[in-house]
Symmetry: C2
Subunit: 110 residues, 2 copies
DNA sequence: GCATTATATTGACATACATCGATGAAGACT
DNA sequence: AGTCTTCATCGATGTATGTCAATATAATGC
């Protein structure tokens, strides 16, 4: 898998490869998914448990149920979270393997 | 300095402290600064050199000079970059110490 | 002083986004 | 079948954002 380092290590010389526009687009979309305080809060809660029911999220944030649903859709479409339906309930969970590339893009050493 | 881990390590239990709204707001603002492909590209270029002249950026992206200036302002106000004026030229440089907290928020181990 | 060059700011416009109330879809329970 | 609960989608509305042309600012050189 290609490693996208938006911020390469300090070492790199002047011939560091330039990010192509497709990569920049994809990264921007994923950062945009985190560019809202409610979604940061949702991700924070998802990270604290194996999975979280939508009902817990609508209870935790002082926003309408459609609004929470809207934010979850954005996180889903960015590929950062995954949903599993069991009966009437929907359980969301964070996808660590989707977050990892963002860390790498910010210059994580590995 | 308080460490903000939006995504704590895998270990954490159900009583993981919840992100307060002020922290969520600040993180969202910084992620929003990275939520545009042009700005991702700018940051990428800034990371590849000690400092970059605005003129190089306006040449590199197929956008008007005011638009580049606008994006640089957003990165500046998010505290991710810094500008130094020398004569007629403005040189921008990335602030690694500002990017680091974002990496930590995404669950970097240290 | 005047022309030129490098950036920033302003104003306008079109598009994207966050939010809500209303409604829809599907499972659970009686 | 009918009702209740859970969640998603739709439609509307106000605000934020990306973009550019025009203009302002400020340094350089003649």
């Amino acid at each position: 898998m290609k490693t996208l380092q938006v911020i390469p290590a300090i070492c790199c010389g002047p011939d560091t490869p330039v990010l192509d526009s497709e990569d920049a687009e994809r990264l921007a979309t994923q950062f945009r998914a985190l560019a809202d305080p409610t979604r940061v809060g949702i991700v924070n809660r998802l990270a604290a448990a194996a999975e979280v029911c939508v009902c817990d999220l609508t209870a935790a944030f002082d926003l309408s149920q459609p609004t929470i649903s809207h934010h979850l859709r954005i996180l889903r479409e960015a590929g950062l979270v995954e949903v599993t339906k069991r009966g009437t309930w929907s359980y969301y969970r964070l996808l660590p393997e989707a977050v990892e590339p963002l860390r790498l893009a910010l210059g994580a050493s590995s």
